[in-house]
Symmetry: C2
């Protein structure tokens, strides 16, 4: 989203979201997207493998950012601290793009195939984080659980933040979800 992408990528995403919202995801073609963006289909396929990928342009950025922060976390950080801080930091950049995120979510929510693909992307991020934790010397199964749990908290925080009836404080919402997880786990017998 926005500043995370090249100019052409951003224009293609903007044009695609507009068209998906106007006429639906299924009815929109790549040539329509490129015509709206004033770019060629060749440029489109240099940026995205297919029409679906255009809504996931920001995900690679998130993955690279979060993984680099996990690797660079202080040695004293616990696995979940390293993961949580990385996700808290990446979310701090979201606010300026909230309207674009909402439009994007609107498109995804209307298309089960995109919902599934989004979950697939998050699973790839979780795997990459688990790998980063292993590089910090955290062994499995804790590395995998910390990566998966942090990514779950990120997903639930994102949903709350996007539907934001309350305050849009990303970091506070993230901490609240972590507390929910602690409350839930405390009930395990």
């Amino acid at each position: 989203m926005g500043r995370w992408q090249s100019g052409a990528g951003e224009r293609l995403e903007r044009a695609a979201l507009d068209l998906f919202l106007e006429q639906g995801f299924d009815a929109t073609t790549v040539p329509q997207i490129t015509a709206r963006a004033g770019l060629t289909t060749r440029t489109f396929f240099r940026h995205y493998a297919d029409k679906r990928e255009v809504v996931f342009g920001g995900v690679d950025f998130i993955q690279a950012f979060v993984v680099s922060r996990v690797i660079g976390a202080p040695a004293s950080a616990t696995p979940i601290e390293a993961v949580a801080r990385a996700y808290q930091e990446v979310g701090a950049n979201f606010q300026e793009n909230i309207e674009a995120f909402r439009q994007r979510q609107h498109v995804i929510d209307a298309t089960p195939e995109l919902q599934a693909r989004e979950l697939g992307k998050l699973a790839v991020i979780a795997s990459a984080i688990a790998q980063a934790l292993c590089e910090r010397g955290v062994a499995d199964p804790v590395a995998t659980m910390a990566a998966e749990l942090g990514t779950l908290v990120f997903r639930l925080t994102f949903e709350r933040w996007l539907n934001g009836h309350g305050p849009h404080d990303w970091s506070g919402l993230f901490r609240d979800r972590l507390k929910d997880a602690a409350i839930v786990i405390a009930g395990a017998s």
Copy 2:
């Protein structure tokens, strides 16, 4: 899988898995599957919306089973206890089908589209469980977190169980993953 399905559903799944493993998911057509199963394509589409759905025949059973167990859990059960017991119970039926589960996973692992769809199915189960917890009087955000956390533990248990180098004790593996979650969360600041 197996006993959870009607005779025709089971034959179609068996034929489909064999063909997917022999010649790949993409190269396999619905008419090939029905020919192998000795059934008509009309029967196929009475059971499954498309070729992809054939590997998810057991998921509806899991959802119905787990939701009914969450609803029927003792009033004294905490949210995560209700969810965990339901998932522990459903897994007890898996052992007799482990080879079919492994073949199925082999197909899914080779096809990113199926991986994403599987995660989408699990997300639907988690939503249904959250709803069931709400009916038990558990409020959000705890209901959603308990459902998501339990479903995450289920997914990681399933992976371990399937790749099972260690003992194939489903219930023990599930408890170990819950303990991993508690260990990870205890590290949150």
